[in-house]
């Protein structure tokens, strides 16, 4: 039954008793719903980024937005996250815990890489409060990183319980975070 048919049901009439249908697991629905939440959050941040970027500084009408340089580490981290997502996809398809552990480990490498990136920027003088571009960079990477850490906790629990359904959900979550990261990386690199 399509959603439209379900919403136009004439429930006051003595219709036939509905047949039970297979429902996706609660975990899947909950995870997808959470993607909605996170999508709104990151979309709003991107909107705020673009809005703030287009603004003029102070009364002197000079752009106060100074873009950050793009170090090679940014590319390397992106590749690591892609590899991590691929490993998770392998785990999802082959039901092997080893691939999942690989995916989680690569996720940690990505986080370490992001930390290095922060250190790198700090050393080069790109402090949080020095410029709105820096502030957005730290804010976005921090929120993305926190989401990945949450994913690592969930992955640890799924692995400990050898729960294949939850491992598949972790893979899904990783892909989602990869897409978010790609959008953010494009944003950071192109502005």
């Amino acid at each position: 039954m399509t959603i439209l048919a379900r919403l136009t049901e004439k429930s006051w009439e003595p219709g036939a008793q509905p047949v039970e249908r297979e429902r996706p697991s609660a975990g899947t629905v909950g995870t997808l719903a959470y993607f909605g939440v996170a999508t709104v959050m990151f979309t709003l941040l991107v909107a705020a980024y673009l809005m703030r970027m287009g603004l003029h500084g102070g009364g002197d009408h000079v752009h106060d937005w100074k873009p950050m340089p793009d170090p090679p580490l940014l590319w390397i981290n992106t590749l690591v996250l892609i590899a991590s997502s691929l490993a998770w996809e392998g785990a999802r398809r082959t039901h092997r815990g080893g691939a999942a552990i690989m995916g989680a480990a690569l996720g940690m490498v990505f986080l370490a890489g992001q930390l290095l990136l922060w250190r790198h920027y700090q050393a080069a003088g790109y402090y949080l409060s020095a410029n709105p571009a820096n502030a957005f960079f730290y804010l976005l990477t921090a929120l993305h990183g926190l989401h990945l850490m949450g994913g690592l906790v969930a992955a640890g629990r799924a692995l400990a319980a050898a729960n294949m359904r939850n491992i598949a959900l972790c893979a899904l979550y990783w892909h989602f975070l990869l897409i978010v990261w790609l959008v953010l990386a494009v944003l950071l690199l192109s502005t």
Partner: protein, 577 residues
């Protein structure tokens, strides 16, 4: 993960000790009560703050303990607590938790552990919020809208620490709400019992479900805004903070956009109005239908109206920003979208009235509150039509007309529904009946009282009395009648304040002394009244989940033996062709 769909009871988490049963409980009914008690507790704080404000406004200068700074702090904390920590938490965390599984025939929420976490995060957010009263400088006085730059600038009360506790508390609240909201949405989608199609769900569930979806999509804006403002305040970034001169010196921040905050805040703030209103709409529909012994008029239309209102309310946020200097074309767009929402809303009002029309109306306490809601909601909605128009709004902005409007529409109206709902479901929740006369007394004082408080405020607003003012002082546009009106408003507010004692006395008295309740005292058709135990036991349904054969509104069906047919009653094979 526990599955709560099957008739198999084993996967359900079974509490063994008193602590796991009542403290770290994963039972949706216990969590609902925890949520409700916490929300009502913090709501009482907000109520006391409103009484203090009214004392100051009615009798300026008579209470030297209330200084201008305190007044602003009271306004801000009162507003934020009422909207977020009381109404949102009580309607979704409280009623959502209690009603969803029982009304759709589930044993519990689908993620009981996350549900428990949600409550404890909420409690933490309340504790951090209350901590604001004790930090140096006191809580924030920036208004519940917390607009930067003033919220974190010299001269605003609580700009040092109070604002930090407020923002941190909000961020925790959003986390708590997200955990709860994911549960409510997934449970409605996943755990409905056999035969419970989407369109057989009671409107209460539809309202709570839609509001939860909206909350999931709107609260991230508040979260983002809170985090960014924390950065501005604690780390010296300038997301929102423009270049400013303070005491002749240029502040270190530069170029930030206060308007950006306003957009984020109201992207959350307007849907928030409907996050509070939609559950109230749903609940009031059920109260009216049960106590008028009639099926709700236009059920399908009611469901669609709920969904359409929910969707549209994401497109109107900037009607709170008409005076922010935005492009006039935006104003035109947002005024139009705002007025369009009036259409599905009016449909709902007509349908409530048509349900009552020729109904067999039983004026019991829950019904009195439901009908009172229709009054206050129509009044608040009508003044909203004025404020939705840019040219009318501009002179009325930041006056008491606005205060009167939003108290009618989103303060008093949902509160009346909450009272009605508590009177209605208490017999199921605790298995005891209330004292009817006390309930009626509480109703009449509250209903007439809120009109005495908020109707005159429209008049003050039209005269131009500004909101968030500690005292009016001497001004030519303020005639003496304003002071008189303020005095009487305050007296009415104090009477309403005291009358709530009747409610709490009644609640506690009935808990111990109330007559034992029948499992279905109102003769209601929906599932929650058909549980094998009253109050429902852990797992709700005994060994077998119920099967649903009909919608929740079979009242006064011609030829039926009783004037209602429970949802669990199988359909007879058609007697005649």
């Amino acid at each position: 993960m526990a599955t709560t769909l099957a008739d198999d009871l084993r996967p359900l988490h079974h509490p063994h000790s008193w602590v796991t049963k009542y403290v770290w409980s994963q039972d949706h009914k216990v969590i609902a009560i925890q949520y409700s008690c916490t929300a009502i507790g913090i709501g009482l704080v907000a109520l006391v703050l409103s009484a203090l404000m009214r004392l100051q406004l009615g009798f300026p200068g008579a209470f030297p303990a209330i200084q201008p700074d305190n007044y602003l702090q009271f306004v801000s904390m009162h507003g934020m607590i009422m909207v977020v920590y009381l109404l949102t938490a009580l309607l979704l965390g409280g009623f959502g938790n209690y009603l969803i599984p029982l009304m759709i025939g589930a044993r519990d929420m689908v993620f009981p552990f996350v549900n428990m976490l949600s409550y404890w995060f909420y409690l933490l957010s309340v504790i951090v919020l209350v901590a604001g009263f004790f930090v140096p400088g006191g809580p924030t006085g920036a208004g519940w809208t917390l607009y930067p730059p003033q919220a974190i600038s010299e001269g605003t009360p609580g700009h040092q620490w109070g604002i930090v506790t407020m923002l941190v508390s909000l961020a925790i609240f959003v986390a708590a709400f997200t955990m709860g909201g994911l549960n409510y949405v997934t449970t409605v989608l996943q755990a409905r019992t056999r035969g419970m199609t989407l369109m057989r769900m009671p409107l209460s569930v539809w309202g709570i479900f839609t509001a939860s979806v909206m909350g999931l999509l709107a609260f991230p804006a508040l979260f983002v805004a809170a985090i960014m403002m924390l950065f501005d305040h604690l780390a010296g970034t300038s997301f929102f903070m423009p270049t400013m001169q303070s005491m002749g010196a240029i502040t270190p921040t530069q170029g930030g956009s206060p308007l950006l905050f306003q957009h984020l805040f109201w992207f959350f703030g307007h849907p928030e109005v409907y996050i509070v209103a939609l559950p109230a709409f749903g609940i009031v529909s059920d109260l009216i239908s049960v106590h008028a012994r009639r099926n709700i008029f236009g059920y399908r239309m009611m469901v669609w109206a709920i969904v359409i209102i929910g969707a549209l309310s994401f497109l109107v946020w900037a009607h709170h920003m008409y005076v922010s200097g935005m492009n006039p074309y935006f104003g035109f767009f947002f005024a139009t979208s705002t007025l369009i929402i009036a259409i599905p809303t009016a449909i709902k009002v007509y349908n409530w009235l048509l349900t009552l029309w020729r109904g067999d109306i039983h004026l019991r306490v829950p019904m009195l509150f439901a009908i009172a809601f229709i009054f206050t909601f129509i009044h608040g909605g009508l003044s909203g039509l004025f404020l939705g128009n840019v040219s009318v709004d501009v002179p009325l902005s930041d006056t008491f007309f606005v205060v009167a409007h939003f108290h009618m529409v989103m303060g008093v109206s949902p509160i009346l529904v909450i009272f009605g709902a508590i009177y209605h479901w208490y017999p199921k929740i605790f298995g005891r009946m209330w004292n009817d006369s006390l309930g009626k007394m509480h109703f009449w004082i509250t209903f007439i009282g809120v009109y005495a408080i908020f109707l005159p405020m429209h008049y003050l607003g039209i005269l131009g009395v500004p909101r968030r003012y500690y005292a009016l002082g001497q001004a030519d546009f303020i005639p003496p009648s304003v002071h008189l009106a303020n005095e009487w408003i305050s007296i009415a507010a104090l009477i309403v304040f005291c009358a709530q004692g009747l409610f709490f006395y009644n609640m506690i008295w009935s808990l111990f002394r109330g007559p034992k309740a029948d499992p279905n005292p109102w003769g209601a058709a929906s599932l929650e009244w058909q549980t094998p135990d009253t109050p429902p036991a852990h797992g709700n349904w005994g060994p077998h989940l119920p099967t649903v054969y009909r919608w929740a509104y079979d009242y006064s069906v011609p030829g039926a033996p009783r004037d209602f047919i429970p949802q669990t009653e199988p359909r007879e094979p058609e007697p005649r062709a």
